[in-house]
Amino acid sequence: MNYADLFRVTLSETALDIAALLVLVVDLGFLRKAALQIRVFSAVLIGVFGCAAAVAVMPFQAEGGLSYPGSTDLLLATGGYTAIAQVGILMLTVLTLFFLVGSDFTKHVGEFVSVTLMAATGGLLICSAQDLLVIFVGLELLSLGLYVLTAFAKRSGKSAESAMKYYLFGGMSAAFLLFGFSYLYGLTGSTNLHEIMRGLFAPAVLNSTPLLYVALVMIAAGLGFKVAAVPFHLWAPDTYQGAPAPAAAFIASVSKVASFALLIGISAAALHAMDQVHGAGLVTATLSGDAPRFMGFHWGWSTLMAILAVASMVFGNLAALAQDSVRRLLAYSAIAHAGYILLAIAYFSRSNVSANAILYYILTYGLTIIGAFGAVSVVERVNGSDRMDAFLGLYKRNGLLAGILLVLFLSLAGIPPLVGFWAKFNLFAAVLQVNRGATPFTLVAIAVAMSAVSLYYYLQVLKRVFVMPPSNATSVKGSPLAMGVLALITIAVIALGCLPGLMQSWMASFYAGM
């Protein structure tokens, strides 16, 4: 392996990092004395160009990714689900950057954009990482950025408090993750995902499954924190509520996409290794009789994911019922949505059906939640609160914004013909395609029932927006750019919902060369 090869697979990450540095230079150097608006504008512009450049250079990345010297095992993957997730991350990053325009929580816009781009770099990295060390470095790069972004509203005590909570939880979960990784390394003597997954079928490891299970639980805890799965979700409501709106939208969308891409990578590697081992006849050679099904990584992993999934969707939806703050409500609903997706991780397919269904879900969810946070922040800026009552009679105070909230919240609830419905259907159909047994079927039934529960709390917000009279008559105005972006997101949510095949064929095009 030489650095030229490494550079060729990390072109996008490099482009983003250059943009991140450029933002700092321009903002702190050239525009030091300029008005805040100009600084915000230029910082966002550079950020957007950075993301665009990262997408543009992606086709030039080395095909097939980067392998270890003298081995076919990948260190960094490219193409396929990795590329879809990376493009998704970059697009969602651009959207969150737009909401910085017109917001007033900080004067340090250069730093904000720069940290956002660096965190996105971490996101890109973990989408392609196939090695425990790279995964950990990428996760930390992403997480550290998120802690900083959460704390960015320096005048707000809530922001600092939530950042501190987030940081403490995050540090702890990183420790769990590292602990789990160290066991995996100890069991197999490798840090490469594929080698580990194969190594776990070795006779020596089969005798020490308890160690493997400890490792699995630790890893599930560490990654469960990233996707805010119950019981590792405690940071989410506080962070969603305290963080400045663009940061919260970033955490809710980009960070989720990256984390689920990582989960896809791990599950795919586990299944792939299982097939390789079975194909080579290794298992039957080392064992007499039938191979126990709890061997290897896959069985324990999918069981853990199923448990997390059920806990998340049940608890997330029920807890959301009791919320009075719309941001906290969105946080608990995010936990529930993570639960649905984890179901598809638990029943993962060898073909790319599951990976596509998950990415379809998380990308459209990210799009919708960015819009929702954008709309909430417009209301919040005028009313000074994100309580339910701040939304009273919004239809009279800003009809367009009310319409946007209607579409986005109904999409989150999964009402057709909006995109959220297709995402859910796609996801549950993928689960049932993998396994038609009674257990996955029951789990899907629970998920569908829970999404019926979710309609209640989404309607609670919409009721205040459309049904109840306004508490005061001042109009709610957002900046033209923010309203324009929100309208675009809304149109996308409707259009993708009416033509669901569009995005599916877009995603399929990434697998064309493979």
């Binding site: 057709p416 419905f421 549950f428 159909a429 569908v448 019926a452 209640y456 009721k463 095949g501």
Partner: protein, 502 residues
């Protein structure tokens, strides 16, 4: 051509939503034009489709990777129900002529609901049907929550959640049928021909039947219906009783019975005479008929009387469906049409003609208002509508319920005996409401006479008269010459009961 009913309704809804506020007259006019155009298309489609079987209107791949098609088609059942929807839409707009509060939004939600209903009746892809079915939920919520009366927010939320739970059950069945058919298609025809395993149909049928039945007022899942009907503004209660409950019944017929016919097979053991899902749902339907009628008899609120009578009448529809006999199912479909018209009429009289003038629906207070003399139009209208509702010969209700009862007799005689009781109680509660609201014996005491004479009620307006005549005409034509509908219902039902939907 029928597909345009869907498109113009949604286009009208969009146009009204974007209309600048404060121009109520224009909003009304647009809504009326759109509804009338839909009705005209429905009539034309019905007339041109006479004698034909299932006609595919459009069939294009929608989500090619999942084998989902955008399939609109119409058979005799669909055409009759589309006709009913058009009728309900036009009369609903006419009876909402006096809405002044957020007029354009009201009609936008109204037309969106109508568009969803047309869509359900015309979909021949299970997936598409489900999409339209869910589209209809949200407008209902806002129609009741914003423009409703008694406990409207509670009633609206209850209705929305009941509907959504019902559709969640349908979604589970849809996912399961999609996964286990293996045909990679969600077309109703291909699913019906997919030979789904009997064990699968055995559990899919009740789940789908209850899921749709919730919206059809299946006892004991009917409790959304009276509260929803009472809280809803007049046009919305007309739509709820007139077409939305039919969505549920239609789903029971088209999806539950059409796709999972083996779910109705005997279990092989029986408990107190109940040996199949068919017996279970027949029992629930009969309970619904009698229970709805008895509760209607005890109401003090005029609108609740009509609300519970809907539960009772919808019981006949469900009973007719599970008879699985040609005549019984014919009767059920005809009863869907008949009840849609008659319930719409009753709700219009109570909610619009009477309530908007007296501002009370309490039978006790109406008794002291001598409406028989002071609102003769309302009294006449209610007498005729009440007769239709009781099932007197000459009105559509008679033909429909008679066929259901004959079908039930063929299946199991005791079903007919029990539901006959429901008809008798039906006469009683209609009579009681009629007597109390319009023709009380009690003469006003001298001190009850207002000094300046009885205040005049607002005169009856032309939209009210037009819409009332429209609905009267429909129930009379069908009552006197039922073949006009039965000729198209019969072959479609025959094909559906024969299986395979061919």
């Amino acid at each position: 051509m029928l597909a345009w009913t869907i498109y113009i309704s949604f286009a009208g809804a969009l146009m009204l939503a974007l209309l600048p506020k404060g121009n109520a007259a224009l909003a009304r006019a647009i809504a009326l034009v759109v509804a009338a155009a839909g009705f005209a298309i429905a009539i034309a489609g019905f007339a041109s489709g006479a004698g034909q079987g299932r006609v595919t209107i459009i069939d294009v791949p929608w989500v090619p990777m999942m084998g989902i098609h955008y399939t609109l088609a119409a058979d005799g059942i669909s055409r009759v129900l589309v006709l009913l929807t058009g009728l309900a839409a036009v009369s609903g707009v006419l009876f909402s002529w006096n809405i002044e509060f957020r007029t354009n939004e009201f009609f936008a939600f109204f037309l969106a609901l109508i568009g969803g209903v047309y869509g359900v009746f015309l979909s021949f892809d299970l997936f598409l049907l489900f999409v339209f079915y869910e589209i209809a939920i949200v407008p209902k919520y806002f129609l009741i929550a914003i423009w409703g009366s008694t406990r409207r927010e509670y009633a609206a939320m209850k209705l929305a959640l009941y509907s959504f739970v019902g559709s969640a059950m349908v979604l589970v069945v849809l996912l399961a049928a999609y996964a286990s058919s293996g045909s990679h298609s969600t077309g109703l025809v291909s699913l019906a021909n997919a030979n789904l395993p009997v064990s699968f149909q055995m559990w899919a049928f009740p789940v789908a039947f209850i899921g749709f039945g919730i919206l059809a007022g299946l006892w004991p899942f009917h409790t959304w219906a009276p509260t929803g009907h009472v809280a809803a503004p007049t046009a919305a209660s007309m739509l709820l009783a007139g077409v939305v409950m039919k969505l549920g019944a239609y789903g029971c017929l088209r999806v539950a019975i059409g796709l999972f016919p083996h779910g109705l097979d005997p279990w092989g053991w029986s408990f107190w005479g109940i040996g199949s899902w068919r017996d279970v749902f027949a029992l629930l339907a009969v309970i619904g008929i009698i229970y709805g009628a008895l509760v209607a008899l005890a109401q003090t609120d005029f609108k609740f009387v009509i609300g519970y009578s809907s539960v009772s009448h919808m019981g006949f529809v469900l009973l007719g469906l599970v008879t699985l006999t040609q005549v019984g199912v014919d009767g059920a479909v005809l009863q869907m049409f008949s009840h849609g018209v008659i319930a719409g009429l009753l709700f219009a009289i109570v909610g619009r003609i009477v309530y908007e003038r007296t501002h009370t629906r309490q039978l006790g207070e109406l008794e002291g208002m001598y409406l028989g003399r002071r609102l003769p139009f309302a009294a006449w209208a209610f007498v005729i509508a009440g007769m239709a509702s009781m099932g007197l010969p000459g009105f559509s209700g008679f033909v429909a319920e008679l066929q259901v009862l004959i079908g039930a007799w063929i299946a199991k005689p005791w079903w007919t005996a029990a539901s006959g009781v429901g008809i008798v109680i039906g006469v009683a509660y209609t009579w009681r409401a009629l007597q109390k609201a319009f023709f009380t014996d009690r003469l006003p005491r001298p001190d009850e006479h207002p000094k300046e004479g009885w205040p005049k009620f607002d005169p009856i307006t032309w939209p009210e008269i037009t819409a009332t005549c429209l609905l009267f005409g429909a129930t009379l034509i069908v009552g006197i010459y039922p073949s006009i509908l039965l000729n198209s219902i019969e072959p479609a039902v025959k094909a559906l009961l024969a299986g395979g939907m061919q």
